[in-house]
């Protein structure tokens, strides 16, 4: 198996205007920086992005928003982002808010071939509107459907030509889940390693879930909330 592509521009081929993309990351942590830049270079429009967050004004998915390439965001928390707010209030940008655990579980459902799952998150709130409620053992659950997206874009720490991926610390977050959920999954990695050098016991995403892989360049890995303690 050799799923290596030359670069981000080649990796995103086939992503067209109006498509739905799953994008890994939590905040600015573990986001596919190179693919985001390539999407801007390509200028694909009217995207629907399923991603836990929407970046900040000048980084992450915020760059796609600035370039007005996103029609709709499906997220759990859109954070502090002035351009996002402007586009949303002006009606240019559609936003669908989903509880974070529901977002994660709908990815898992897609990757595990479960058409729908039950979760108690959102019962009795506006999130439940129009959704099927079912009681198990006296507790109410909402029926939530698996995502179905043509492309997923994820960022890993290490990967090999088979598409096997290893993530680092909390940069794992939604990445392995979205990798499982895309019909075509694109992985950018900090380090592309030779096949056989990853410990088979410690692969987070087996290559069967990954279709294209490349080593990204110049990761900025910006910190959103730099917080430090005083030396004691």
């Amino acid at each position: 198996m050799n799923k290596i592509v030359a670069n981000a521009d080649e990796a995103i081929r086939g992503i067209e205007d109006g498509m739905t993309l799953m994008v890994g990351g939590f905040g600015l942590c573990g986001i596919p920086e190179n693919c985001i830049a390539a999407l801007i270079r390509k200028g694909v429009k009217s995207l629907t992005c399923i991603s836990n967050n929407a970046g900040v004004d000048d980084f992450g998915l915020g760059l796609l928003l600035q370039a007005r390439l996103i029609k709709k965001m499906i997220s759990s928390y859109v954070g502090e982002n002035a351009e996002f707010e402007r586009q949303m209030l002006s009606g240019e940008l559609e936003v669908e808010l989903i509880p974070q655990g529901t977002l994660a579980t709908r990815c898992l459902a897609a990757g595990y071939g479960m058409p729908a799952v039950f979760t108690p998150a959102g019962v009795g709130t506006e999130v439940a509107e129009g959704k099927e409620v079912r009681v198990f053992n006296g507790k109410e659950y909402l029926l939530e459907y698996a995502f179905d997206a043509p492309f997923a874009i994820v960022k890993a720490w290490k990967g090999d030509a088979h598409g096997n991926l290893v993530f680092h610390e909390t940069a794992r977050n939604f990445n392995p889940l979205m990798a499982m959920a895309g019909k075509i999954t694109i992985a950018e990695v900090e380090e592309l390693v030779p096949v056989g050098s990853l410990d088979p016991d410690h692969i987070h995403t087996p290559g069967i879930y990954v279709h294209r892989i490349f080593q990204g360049e110049r990761y900025e890995k910006r910190i959103e909330q730099r917080t430090v303690r005083k030396p004691s």
Binding site: C29, Y77, L97, P99, G101, G122, T125, E169, R226, P231
Partner: protein
Amino acid sequence: MLDKIGIAKRIAREVRDGYYVNLGIGIPTLVANYIPHGMNVVLQSENGLLGIGPFPLEGEEDPDLINAGKQTITTLPGSAFFDSAMSFGMIRSGKVDLTILGAMEVSENGDIANWKIPGKMVKGMGGAMDLVAAAKNIIVAMQHVNKAGESKLLHACSLPLTGKKCVKKIVTELAVLDVLPEGGFKLLERAPGISVEEIVKATAGKLIITGDIPEMVID
């Protein structure tokens, strides 16, 4: 009347040895500082970590290592990383013993509103709806009244709900209260120097007062 640190200190007394705890943003985050030494408690961050440590020293920040509030953190020995599905899986299956979070409003039947104010920019619920719907024990840390002087402990929430019938306990600058399964805020403790009358005045929902109400111990 308690300040934020006082509220955090009082809540820290609810933590038990061996607990796995999820701390929300704001006052709940401060609770970590007041968990008694020698008590074995593991903090969970819903973005995929068990074993949150202190903030890093300047120069030791790691962009791959953040908490659910996107702050740089460290880990403690014995920590484990996992993906977001497992993270909410352990929350949903009741493995997280205690969730502490803030609120805009709580109703006397345990409803909580903490994510949306109609007419204002909505940032999203993040993991709050999952946490309140699933956690087996939820303590709310909040001010008793809002900036306009109105009670946040209500008969029914006026804001869009985050979850229904889920709050078990509330710690405010004035009091500690249990939310009874049958409805009603049962007053348990007064903040130092606060009278029962002041708490009655600040509570719009059904308040249940039985016998003498002791002053709380926070240190």
